[in-house]
């Protein structure tokens, strides 16, 4: 609706002069000129995290010395790499995937309990404790798992499983930990489950909490129980958040370093059974870097392995972050 001055009735107040600049928006602050030194400064400042990511990639690429190990990088045989890094890659997935599965099951249960079944005062009381789990340092989980859980696993649970579950593939045979009883795959999986749990729980909880109220109530009004509404409507409505929990929980589990290094047994071999010791990418990298100070070839190999882990975590995080719009900053460390 443009008001032409010619059609204005006589005696009407003088129309305002036309706007000379674009209307002020949040992103283009009002004010004549920019008070900050140069328009590009905000861009430069904001690019610091991106610059760190780029610097990490560039440093690792250059630390490989552009030395191409070829397929020998993954396979055993070469002198600098007697076992092949395939073992630790397999070990990473053998620990991270079951841990992710367990923490997704637990996280779904806890999130459904918190959003659907618990009275709101109870979930308000309990949810922060689950979030607090993410803040406990991994090395504290590690020392606790090594000194408390490992003896229980080694003397009670593993022997019981050998005695009663040996009909399952991989469950037969005794645990073959060389250092101390109980360390190995199961302990690493338990620790990783605990460490991925707060992230998966939080993401699933937020996804389920965002179910529209009318959707929920119409489901109930049609005669469905709370469980049925949650299973058929809620899970589907929150599927993006649940998938993001899969990706981000996996990223956390596969990148976890110190706690795994303390409980995995750190033996570069394929596990012979489910109780056996092995190693993961992150833990192997963590334990072996000292040697890179004197062994340049090993340093290059480790840098290449670091690139593999970095690519996996970047891809997983990218996928997980694309699925959720909510920004998490302060509730849960590590997310």
């Amino acid at each position: 609706m443009s008001s032409a001055p010619t059609t204005a009735p006589t005696g009407a107040p003088e129309p305002l002069p036309p706007r000379t600049s674009a209307p002020p928006s949040r992103k283009a602050p009002i004010g004549r000129g920019i008070a900050l030194p140069g328009k590009s400064l905000p861009f430069v400042l904001a690019l610091v995290p991106a610059a760190i990511v780029v610097a990490i990639v560039a440093t690792l690429v250059s630390a490989t010395g552009f030395h191409n190990f070829g397929w020998g990088f993954f396979l055993p045989g070469s002198a600098s790499n007697p076992n092949g890094v395939l073992i630790v890659i397999v070990g990473s997935f053998l620990t991270a995937v079951p841990a992710l599965f367990l923490s997704m099951v637990l996280g779904l249960g806890i999130a459904i309990a918190s959003t659907t079944y618990l009275p709101s005062f109870a979930s308000k009381l309990l949810d922060p404790f689950v979030d607090l789990l993410a803040g406990i340092p991994s090395v504290v989980y590690g020392i606790w798992a090594y000194l408390v859980l490992a003896p229980i696993l080694g003397t009670v649970i593993n022997p019981w499983a050998v005695a009663h579950l040996s009909f399952l593939p991989g469950f037969a045979g005794l645990p073959t930990s060389p250092t101390s009883a109980g360390v190995g795959l199961p302990l690493a999986i338990i620790v990783l489950t605990l460490m991925a749990l707060p992230i998966t729980t939080l993401l699933i909880r937020d996804a389920l909490r965002s179910i529209p109220r009318d959707l929920w109530e119409s489901g109930l009004a049609l005669g469905a129980t709370r469980w049925e509404v949650m299973r058929r409507v809620g899970i589907r409505h929150g599927s993006r958040g649940i998938f993001s929990a899969v990706f981000l929980g996996f990223g956390r589990a596969i990148g976890e370093t110190v706690a795994v290094a303390m409980v995995i047994g750190s033996s570069a071999r394929f596990p012979a059974n489910v109780y056996d010791v092995t190693n993961t990418m992150a833990a192997y990298m963590f334990e072996t870097l000292d040697a890179a100070l004197v062994n340049a070839t090993l340093g290059k190999l480790l840098a290449e392995l670091a690139l593999v882990l970095l690519v996996i975590t970047l891809v997983v995080n990218l996928l997980g972050r694309r699925l959720v719009t909510h920004i998490y900053a302060q509730e849960v460390p590590g997310l």
Partner: protein, 307 residues
Amino acid sequence: MATAFSVRAAGLDPADDLRSGDTLRLRFRTGFDRWIGYLLPLLFLVALLPILDVVYYISSVALPTLSVTVLTSMAPFDGSDALGVTIISTFEMVAVATALSVSFGLFGGIATAEFLPEWAAGWVRMSANLLAGTPSVIVGYFGFFALVIYLHWGLAFIAGAFTLAFFMTPYIFRTADIAFSSIPRPIREAAYGSGARPYQYILRVGTPIAIPQILTGIFLAMAIGLGETAPIVLTVAPNVVVPTGLFSHSTYLTYLIWTGYTSPPGSLPLTLAYQAAFLVVVVVVVLNVVVRVIAARYRKRLEGLYQ
């Protein structure tokens, strides 16, 4: 959640259907719903029992051995049960790393919230999220290759502080971003409408409103830095005295845990590991609780701003 209970108050609970149409299937469905409602909350126990046991076990072992003498004794910790050196070294490391990460992340976060167009802000936020999701061992490798090797800093205090700062930066960046993004629009418009320059708005209007949330970000980053092991172990050589300069070796609380946990029971390294773990857990939990309390108060204050 509130939805389920308002539904119950409205008389829509499935238990009402059970009373009217009493079929076997309905009985099963509602019974399942009721029992799963009793069973699922038990999963909270599965999640929370380990953490309670961690805190209980660490404190029950560490507390009897801790004393003021242990905490303040500056004797080298390789010969005696003394934590003074480690505590001061850790404090210095966290302080330097926090200062570095605040200078890396704070201004970028404010700039992202205030000045960047939406498309650029999306990319920058994604990069901060990716950095936050990068495993600590990768950041440690970055510090090792870039600072220790390429810049010839050696396994020095300052290399560890920078590596830790890289790890903490995204958290400070994101809280600054969120804090300034969540300032109510009318306040921003009032400030600019009364002629404030952008820097005046940020310093005199935005910062007083956003400072609690920025503080939570800094506390959280400190808790994360204090609990990290890999970046420190990979970039700093251990030392038994307080670092004398930026390029001297240093020790760290989590480093004591990592080196001591396999020692035989009753030995000095294991005792130190327990005591260090106790201190780390206490400080981290306190920082996390403070973060939550400030965040809750801040939310109330923001709601008040809208009224």
